[in-house]
């Protein structure tokens, strides 16, 4: 029994101690944060190496009696889905901290780094928790640091944005808490002992009546749909992204949104097959609406950062569509899309931030001709834009293509896959239109004198963007190894979701 996963939770917390000791020294704080997140990244890659590909179950499991009087345990583990999301999280956090230490954050560095390390605990924890109580704690632990990051180091309307973000998220998650307690009570066996551990719940989910699942799935779905966000709960997202500091946007888009999609796959689908069936038509409809609506709204944005934010809504629409078509291709596509979106949109927010630091302009109309002055920046930006719109050979294509295959194969719901598949495919075309149009307006055209003297990307900025670029190409050219991780676990999730009588004995 290893303690790798607990180590992942402990490292950022341990990093807080030197951070507190050197709290008056901004330079030391930066170094501590960079070192901590780098170690965390290394451990998460080590964890990835330890993972046995091809097994559907949870691995590296650790269990500790935590609240014996309530039957709640500290239970962590990873399967093929979460094992990829954890290194993504640690990589994006490392990049965020590295970029922030370069001068993008000027005030209260120690507090900033503290918030980031706490945030990392929450983000990593969400993906490894296998007890609903623990999951909820990590889910909420992400909230307060992000609230502070947006509220203290954000843009001019940061307070409005951060309160909106917190209240939206909290409204969803508190209803989920009621749902969690309902599951807890329903899990009681003859002797009255109750549990929130996922493996146990998967065994006894047969006790959850269809009516019960209808309501409890709704409570869970609301929390995840707000986090993701699905239309119509997305209105907090543009505000939060526009006001957040660059690094905040990177992890917000890259990781926090994934917690919603992951929540559906980990808890929503496997635990409540009847609930999923009941809400499926609505969820599919909202996914496709998100794809089309996100794309159309992105097209008319004047603010570059807002455009990227709305494009997230569309991309997350693909994630939910892939999840709710309830077949293997769709599901694998959804998980890949989560990874891709993490790398690509994270990178786009990074580049928009870099650009803003130099020009202090974010309005598309104020930009232009950048290609001539910053060739390197343009190359990076171009690759990520192409990945975002789903160009074959880059990662965005793989995820969206699989989701589209899945949705074409989808049967059920009024209209079926031959309606929803093409409808979603229109979204891909729209993405090409708004992204290329934006690229053209920002990069080409006459060179602006004001920007001519500004330097291209610095070494630090390249160091931040390069790993994301490499992963974007790697996932695009060689998706198979990643799919091999995801497939067995996802297959099990789909079976659990489509067959209420299917039971698994996860591990004992």
């Amino acid at each position: 029994m290893t303690h790798l996963l607990s180590l992942l939770v402990v490292i950022p917390i341990a990093g807080l101690i030197p951070l507190f000791i050197f709290r008056r020294d901004a330079g030391a704080a930066k170094q501590v944060a960079i070192t901590t997140t780098a170690v965390e990244l290394a451990v998460s890659i080590w964890m990835l190496a330890q993972f046995k590909v091809g097994e559907p179950g949870f691995q590296l499991v650790e269990r500790l009696d935590w609240l014996p009087s309530l039957g709640i345990s500290y239970l962590v583990g990873v399967d093929g889905i979460s094992v990829l999301l954890v290194p993504m999280t640690t990589l994006l956090t490392f990049i965020s901290v590295l970029y922030s230490s370069g001068g993008a954050i000027k005030t209260r560095i120690t507090e900033y780094m503290t918030a980031f390390l706490l945030l990392e605990v929450g983000m990593v924890g969400v993906f490894i928790a296998l007890d609903l109580f623990l999951f909820y704690i990590f889910f909420e632990l992400m909230l307060v640091p992000m609230y502070l990051i947006i509220g203290i180091w954000g843009g001019p309307r940061r307070i409005y944005a951060t309160l909106k973000f917190v209240l939206f998220t909290l409204a969803g998650s508190l209803l989920m808490l009621v749902g969690i307690v309902a599951v807890y009570i329903a899990s009681a066996d003859a002797s009255g002992s109750r549990t929130l551990s996922l493996p146990d719940l998967l065994e006894l989910r047969g006790r959850f009546s269809a009516d019960f699942q209808f309501w409890v799935f709704l409570a869970f779905a609301l929390a995840f749909a707000i986090k993701l966000p699905m239309v119509p709960f997305h209105t907090w997202l543009p505000d939060a992204h526009v006001e957040a500091p660059t690094a905040g946007s990177i992890v917000l888009a890259g990781v926090l949104l994934k917690a919603g999609g992951y929540g559906f796959l980990r808890f929503g689908l496997p635990l409540f097959p009847f609930g999923v069936q009941a809400w499926l038509p609505l969820l599919i409809l909202l996914s496709v609406v998100a794809i089309l609506y996100g794309a159309i709204v992105s097209a008319v944005q004047k603010d570059l950062k807002k455009l990227v934010a709305y494009s997230s809504v569309a991309h997350m629409g693909f994630v939910t569509l892939g999840i709710f078509v309830l077949n293997l291709q769709g599901g694998v596509g959804a998980v890949l899309q989560m990874l891709n979106h993490g790398f690509v949109t994270g990178a786009l927010f990074l580049l928009v931030g870099i650009q803003y630091e130099k020009t202090h302009r974010r309005m598309i109309a104020d930009l232009g001709g950048i290609a001539n002055t910053w060739p390197l920046f343009t190359t990076f930006f171009g690759v990520f834009v192409l990945a975002s719109l789903g160009l074959p050979g880059l990662n965005g294509f793989v995820g969206e293509f699989l989701v589209l295959i899945g949705s074409f194969k989808f049967t059920g719901v009024p209209l079926g896959g031959l309606f929803w598949g093409p409808a979603a495919a229109i979204g891909v075309i729209l993405a090409a239109i708004y992204l290329l149009w934006m690229f053209q307006r920002v990069m080409y055209g006459p060179v602006r004198e004001a920007y001519r003297a500004l330097p291209d990307m610095s070494r630090l900025e390249i160091a931040c963007a390069l790993p994301l670029l490499l992963l974007t190409v790697l996932l695009g050219v060689l998706p198979q190894p990643f799919i091999a991780y995801i497939e067995p676990s996802l297959d099990r999730v789909i079976r659990l979701a489509t067959d209420p009588s299917f039971t698994v004995v996860a591990f004992k």
Binding site: W66, L67, P68, S69, L70, F133, Y136, I137, E140, L141, L143, V144, Y147, L148, G151, I152, R158, I159, T162, L163, V166, L167, L170, A171, L174, L175, L177, V178, V181, A182, Y184, I185, W215
Partner: protein, 480 residues
């Protein structure tokens, strides 16, 4: 002799109060402000230790007093809260010329009253305890004699308190008429044999509910709370908002579950509705407040609603009792802490800081602001704090009792509350200290006790097992 050993803790706390008064009268005026809190805290620590003295559970003083796990739990909680209240007060009292001897003695006397409630096995003991607890608090509310608002607060609190005591006593009289006894066990057995509640029983139940509702500040019997909390000196408010509240719930549990348990079918739906009204009413009015002290006053009403929800869910069994006790403990810690954080600000009269006056507080007093933020996050119910665990354990019996609607009301209320709690955090952390920010008081005792309390809020939020276990055992004598 055994009768006396059963009430050692109460005797010790009373003795502490007396000693404080004597020392205050004999000691040099300049030394009193430092010596008295030390004497009080030391004495209360001794009393706390004596609570855990092994007295066999059972009835004492011919059935007027009962010592059980429930009494032990509440006695300990009351003493801990009194210690906390005494520890945060000295700097404020010195600045405002509040006579320290009377202040600490009042806190001790009130605590004795609260402890008596926890011990009561009889309506008469309970009523004596209730009065012993409240009368010192009337004085405490008006202890800043030269302040108009303090006088108003004391008078309002006294008049409504007296009124509610009369109602309660009248209810007790009706109950006596029904059961021909004043001890809880006999009342419960008579009510059980009686079967369906008849007219006089219903009258008694209604009067008792209203009377205790006043004491616990349940909507619509809460009107005295904001003014009394607002007008009282801030450290007194901090104590008033938790000690008497916890005592009121001890009384509610003793009476409702102990004596009126057989009527739970009649009162549980009523309490559920009152709980929903209380939390929603408290939160909505708190939203509109710009003064943090008043805001916290209304928010404490909202928390009453959450606790009451768990009482209403009593039929869920031991988990309901455990939820009430756990929430009372958590609430005491975080709410007293939150009020005490206002003590950093040097403001005229009894006023608390307005939102504007909190601007940039995190820059001026980083650790104080951190403690305040921890208490507020805990009051909101966000993990990893004890406030979250408290919400979790309250929702559980509520759902168990089949009141899903009430659980949803609790969740939605927590969102409402998040708005105004986090607004304070916004002011402290996200605004610059501009305009008229009040002078700050360097209070080491205050910082140390707030630091300890906020640490406890987080640590017990991560490791709540022992407290929960204790709360569940303590509730067993009443809820089975």
């Amino acid at each position: 002799m055994t009768d006396v050993t059963a009430v050692y803790p109460e005797i010790i706390v009373t003795a502490v109060a007396m000693i404080v008064l004597v020392v205050d009268a004999t000691l040099d005026r300049r030394r009193a402000p430092t010596a008295l809190p030390i004497i009080t805290i030391a004495g209360l620590v001794v009393a706390l230790a004596s609570v855990f003295n092994d007295v066999p559970a059972g009835q004492y003083f011919r059935g007027f007093v009962t010592v059980d796990a429930f009494a032990t739990f509440f006695r300990a909680v009351f003493i801990i809260l009194a210690i906390f209240a005494a520890a945060v007060s000295p700097a404020y009292l010195a600045r405002r010329m509040v006579p320290p001897g009377e202040y600490y003695a009042i806190i001790c006397f009130s605590t004795v009253g609260a402890m008596t409630i926890a011990l009561s096995a009889d309506l008469i003991t309970l009523f004596i305890g209730l009065e012993t607890m409240t009368i010192p608090i009337y004085v405490l509310a008006g202890i800043q004699r030269s302040d108009r608002f303090a006088n108003e607060a004391a008078l309002k609190y006294f008049l409504l308190g007296a009124f509610s005591s009369a109602l309660l006593l009248y209810g007790f009289a009706w109950l006596y008429g029904v059961a021909r006894a004043t001890d809880f066990v006999t009342i419960a057995s008579v009510l059980t044999s009686q079967g369906i509640a008849n007219g006089p029983t219903i009258v008694a139940l209604a009067l008792i509910t209203v009377g205790l509702g006043f004491k616990a500040a349940i909507v619509p019997f809460h009107q005295w709370t904001p003014d009394a909390y607002d007008g009282a000196p801030t450290p007194a408010t901090a104590f008033m908002s938790v000690g008497p509240k916890a005592a009121a719930f001890a009384a509610i549990l003793r009476v409702m579950l102990g004596a009126l348990g057989p009527l739970s079918v009649d009162w549980s739906a009523m309490l559920a509705v009152l709980a929903a009204l209380t939390m929603t009413g408290g939160n909505i009015v708190a939203l509109a407040q710009t003064n943090t002290k008043r805001m916290l006053a209304y928010s404490s009403i909202a928390h009453t609603g959450y606790i009451l929800a768990a009482v209403a869910a009593a039929k869920a069994g031991p988990s309901a009792g455990a939820a009430v006790l756990f929430y009372v403990f958590a609430y005491g810690l975080m709410n007293l802490g939150a009020f005490a954080c206002l003590l950093y600000m040097d403001l005229e009269g009894t006023r608390g800081a307005t939102l504007d006056e909190l601007n940039g507080f995190a820059r001026r007093q980083p650790l104080g602001a951190l403690a305040f933020a921890v208490f507020l996050v805990s009051l909101t119910g966000i993990p990893p704090t004890i406030g979250f665990v408290a919400k979790f354990v309250v929702i559980q019996p509520v759902l168990d009792a089949g009141m899903a609607w009430l659980a949803v009301v609790i969740a939605l209320n927590a969102v409402l509350a998040a708005f105004y709690y986090l607004r304070v955090v916004v002011r402290m952390y996200m605004y610059e200290p501009e305009g008229t920010v009040p002078r700050l008081i360097p209070g080491r005792g205050l910082s140390v006790s707030l630091g300890l309390a906020s640490l406890a809020v987080v640590v017990l939020g991560i490791l709540p097992n022992s407290i929960y276990e204790w709360a569940r055992e303590a509730a067993l004598p009443l809820v089975r």
